[in-house]
């Protein structure tokens, strides 16, 4: 359970920009380098292309906000030793979870109004 001060910090960072959300989400399973993140994000978002410069710009911002940090641990990606790897910080993980919850609430609300089908619908 996050402490009170952490809770207020998390609240200040919400809602996350969609791109930031996808970047943090790409790091859930462990540290990755830029190319790994890009592949994972593009796979998750069905063909949306992410521009690497924007990826790094977002990473800089997320690093300033202490949601991600650079690491030497190569984690799930093994190729390319000279690359910079990023990992999720404790705060980053909490913010991601809070954002996911917020989005889930929104989706539930949409379902309640029959805007989207229930989970066991056609898709």
């Amino acid at each position: 359970m996050p402490s009170a001060s952490t809770t207020s910090r998390i609240a200040a960072l919400l809602p996350l920009a969609p791109r930031d959300y996808l970047i943090l989400f790409a790091l859930v399973d462990g540290p990755r380098h830029g190319h790994g993140m890009l592949k994972s994000i593009e796979a998750e978002s069905h063909g949306v292309l992410l521009d690497p410069a924007n990826l790094y710009r977002s990473l800089r911002k997320l690093e300033r906000d202490e949601l991600v940090s650079e690491t030497r641990d190569s984690g799930t990606d093994t190729e390319g030793p000279a690359r910079r790897f990023y990992k999720l910080t404790k705060l980053g993980r909490d913010v991601l979870a809070a954002e996911a919850e917020r989005l889930a609430h929104l989706t539930d609300a949409a379902r309640a109004r029959k805007l989207v089908p229930a989970p066991k619908g056609s898709r």
């Binding site: 380098h33 292309l49 690497p52 410069a53 924007n54 790094y56 710009r57």
Partner: protein
């Protein structure tokens, strides 16, 4: 493509992607580039390689295109985002008016820019739209990215690269890497019965093939596995296009019986027109692929498989290689790669064209920008902010780019209409009817043009506005050694270098076309006239009736002025009309050959004389050969030279007998003669060996036959006479639309060469126009800037000829340098084009020399006009001004 080759390709693409990206990143603030530029470029390079590997050229272009648009804009936003945001588009109306006035003040330059952009954008959009609609579309399969083709080797035989249906039936159930495996095999069949016979393309398919293409029946059902079992009723599924063509729209054909090659088939379903995975092939009938029995042994198939999501291509490859006891596995093969080389050459040419247009625009803008430094300095002196000047120039550039875009759309429309006109038969471009101006491409081309004009319009302007006004004005006055002054020369060189590549490429393709056009097709093409006769079945029900018709027609034809001989034949002029395949077993020889493409001509005695095909050995078909019963005896045939060479390698084939197991049953043949090779547009200008061909006796009483007449040298072709002869015997027999000279039928098969020649010809013409325009405008501009210098030179006693030489040298020197550079580059580029060139060497010296001469000629003309004007300067006047 080998795995190593693929890896090399990916690495090269990653490197190109990195390089491009680093350039694009220049739009971003320096501190970002220092901290993350290298990483971002690395990631982009890897992503490009991924796109190429997984999605092919289309995915790669999509990624590159997005980056070209996104990265500079995002970078600009990032730069502006750090500073207080200026009102970039305040008082837009007045700025537009201002920009229009600025464009009007320099009408020549503005017009040159707009024309350049129109040509560049128009040609690009048109060609890319055509290429995209015809070559780049993904395979028609669902989940096309996971489709592989399974190829095999045949030991000790002519390798066909494809397994037989029998082999397919054996190995397909053993493979675990795929979620689905299907096979298909195409044949051309004759739809008989009714009042006319017609050729149609028939595709024998495995039971799930149509469903795998996402096809749903319009009426009836698709094929089922039990349709292919031995002894099952012969069934067929028709395309709605065939139903409309032959039976009339909306006809209830399901359940009826139709005759295919005289065998009755029950129509079980109708399906919509299906996109074939081979451009240019449209199928009209689908029947079950026999998976056992002699027909399965004789039918070569294309095996198509869908990789399971979790299985890598390497795993699948290894599994396939383990099938050694059934077939000799050759390789798994990604279908999407097959068209790559021609695609790349075309796209490279398109891109070169856009590059030339951009260089031209940059060139023009730099030249004018230099002149406008003074104007900018005055504006700054009068209190204009830099932002305001930037805004003004942005709007000016945008106006020019928009005008160019509008012109481009017009040109693209015209060009697409031209390409459509070149392909009336739609043999090559099956989807021409669906070609539209591709909005994405148009947007992409305009964006690049816009970026070019913005960047090159801004650079000199910013320099001008940064210089203290007094200095800029003084500099303007003196016009002394600016670094920018040397730039136009460099641009001329680059432009000439780029266009010489295109010009030589176009010259080579054109030469290949003409070589094929005027090559010897192996028969007297321009002295042969053919007419296709399909006798209405009701009135010509008996063989005697039919034979009588043809006897009478031949007698009448021989009476026509200029006609020296006449005969009937079927599939007897190129292109091959009747093609079969099968396993060939020569008596007394141990090896069995698989022939995947054997063209069959059915002819009568006298055929070779009519056609002017030389008989190289043995004898031709004679009257008694026509009555040989194929069920009990060997059918006497004449084979072509290439078939003799391929299968009898040096021994005399005359007298040899062999067995050919065709999909519709085995037949035995006896070779009685060898004739020269006949070539069509697909094999011209030369083929060695050409495809195998056999000449079989044609029974006189067929319902569907060609009449061939030989016309004496220099006599006109009796087109009307032959038509009248048919009508005189029976006005109900249509003959009009099938009258054709042999040369015309050969020409009709040259659509690919013709299309390539037109495409590259367009590239070259546009490139030439752009180069001429660019050089002329730059030299003219430079002359107008140096009027005062010219005046002084003339005043100090220089002769007009000296001044002219000065100006000409200024243009010719860089043009020559560019030519040398371009020719060097050409050697690299045209090597990739061998598929277009049909036997013309990619370094053909004649073409290179001729095209260089053309380019030099155009450059000289472009330089001469402004050079002449330079000497008309009145020294007294310029010095006074």
């Amino acid at each position: 493509m080998t795995a190593a080759g693929g890896q090399r390709g990916s690495r090269a693409i990653a490197a190109i992607g990195r390089g491009l990206y680093r350039t694009l990143l220049l739009a971003w603030p320096r501190d970002f580039r220092d901290a993350n530029g290298r990483d971002a470029a690395e990631v982009f390079g890897d992503a490009c390689a991924d796109s190429w590997t997984n999605g092919g050229l289309v995915a790669l272009i999509r990624r590159l295109g997005r980056a070209v648009i996104d990265v500079p804009w995002a970078g600009l936003a990032e730069r502006i985002g750090d500073a207080p945001r200026p009102r970039l588009f305040g008082s837009l109306g007045s700025d537009v008016r201002h920009a229009l006035r600025a464009c009007r003040q320099r009408p020549g330059l503005s017009l040159a820019i707009v024309i350049t952009l129109s040509l560049g954008i128009g040609a690009n959009t048109a060609i890319f739209s055509v290429v995209d609609a015809t070559l780049l579309r993904p395979l028609p399969y669902a989940d096309a990215a996971r489709v592989v083709y399974l190829r095999t080797h045949r030991d000790g035989a002519k390798s066909t690269g494809n397994p037989t249906a029998e082999e397919f039936a054996q190995f397909a159930p053993r493979l675990q890497s795929y979620s689905r495996i299907e096979a298909r095999s195409w044949q051309s069949v004759l739809l008989t019965g009714g009042n006319s016979a017609t050729r149609a393309r028939y595709l024998a398919v495995s039971a799930g093939y149509l469903a795998a293409l996402g096809t749903r029946p319009i009426a009836g059902r698709l094929l089922r596995p039990d349709d292919a079992l031995p002894g099952a009723t012969a069934v067929v599924v028709l395309s709605d296009r065939l139903v409309t063509r032959r039976y009339g729209a909306g006809a209830a054909v399901v359940g009826t019986t139709i005759a295919i090659d005289d065998i009755n088939h029950v129509v079980v379903g109708v399906v919509p027109q299906i996109e074939s995975d081979t451009p240019g092939l449209r199928f009209e009938l689908y029947g079950p692929l026999p998976l056992s029995g002699p027909a399965a042994k004789a039918t070569g198939v294309v095996a198509i498989a869908w990789l399971k999501p979790a299985v890598s291509i390497d795993t699948a490859r290894a599994e396939f290689q383990s099938l050694g006891d059934v077939v000799s596995p050759s390789n798994l093969f990604w279908k999407v790669r097959e068209l790559r080389d021609p695609q790349l050459a075309l796209l490279a040419a398109v891109f070169l064209l856009l590059l030339i247009a951009c260089v031209n625009v940059a060139n023009l803008l730099l030249a004018s920008g230099q002149a406008r430094r003074a104007e900018m300095a005055v504006r700054v002196a009068l209190g204009a902010s830099r932002m305001r000047i930037v805004r003004l120039l942005l709007i000016e550039s945008a106006l020019l780019a928009l005008a160019g875009g509008a012109g481009g759309v017009l040109i693209a429309r015209g060009a697409i209409a031209l390409f459509t006109a070149l392909e009336p038969a739609q043999q090559l471009l099956t989807r021409l009817e669906s070609i539209e101006i591709d909005g994405v491409v148009l947007g992409y081309a305009i964006t690049i043009a816009l970026l070019t004009s913005v960047v090159f319009g801004l650079v000199p302007a910013l320099r001008g506005s940064a210089t203290p006004p007094q200095a800029a004005l003084r500099e303007d006055d003196q016009r002394t050694g600016s670094r920018l002054r040397r730039l136009p020369g460099a641009f001329i060189a680059v432009e000439v270098a780029l266009s010489v590549v295109l010009l030589i490429a176009a010259g080579l393709v054109g030469r290949a076309f003409f070589q094929a056009r005027f090559a010897d097709p192996g028969f007297a093409a321009d002295r042969v006239l053919t007419v296709r006769i399909a006798l209405p079945e009701a009135r010509y029900a008996t063989a005697d009736r039919r034979a009588q018709f043809f006897d009478e027609l031949l007698a009448r034809a021989r009476q026509l002025p200029g006609v020296t001989a006449a005969t009937i034949g079927y599939g007897a002029t190129p292109p091959p009309d009747f093609v079969t395949q099968g396993a060939l077993q020569i008596d007394g020889s141990a090896s069995e050959y698989t022939i995947s493409w054997l063209s069959v001509s059915m002819v009568q005695p006298g055929y070779f004389a009519v056609m002017g095909i030389p008989l190289l050995a043995g004898r031709e078909l004679e009257r008694q050969d026509l009555s040989v019963d194929p069920s009990s005896n060997e059918t006497p045939i004449v084979i072509n030279r290439s078939m003799a060479k391929s299968f009898w390698s040096g021994r005399d084939p005359v007298g040899a007998t062999f067995r050919l197991a065709e999909p519709r049953g085995p037949r035995r043949y006896r070779v009685i003669g060898v004739a020269g090779d006949v070539r069509d547009g697909l094999s011209l200008p030369a083929c060695d060996p050409c495809g195998p061909q056999i000449y079989r006796p044609l029974p006189a009483e067929r319902q569907y036959t060609d009449v061939l007449v030989r016309v004496a040298d220099r006599a006109p072709l009796p087109v009307a006479g032959l038509r009248d002869a048919v009508a005189a015997i029976d006005p109900g027999v249509p003959a009009d639309d099938s009258l054709q000279s042999g040369a015309a039928s050969v020409y009709s098969t040259m659509s690919r060469q013709r299309f390539n020649a037109a495409l590259f010809g367009t590239f070259a013409a546009v490139a030439l126009a752009l180069v001429g325009l660019g050089i002329s405008a730059v030299i003219a501009h430079s002359v107008s800037q140096r009027t005062r210098e010219m005046g002084i030179r003339l005043a100090l006693g220089a002769r007009p000829a000296q001044v002219r030489r000065l100006v000409i040298a200024q243009g010719v020197r860089p043009a020559i340098a560019g030519l040398a550079l371009g020719i060097g580059f050409t050697f690299v580029v045209t090597r990739t084009m061998t598929k277009f060139l049909y036997g013309v060497s990619p370094t053909d010296p004649l073409t290179i020399a001729a095209m260089s001469a053309v380019l030099i000629g155009v450059s000289l003309a472009a330089i001469a006009v402004p050079a002449l004007r330079a000497t008309r300067v009145d020294p007294a006047k310029t010095l006074r001004d």
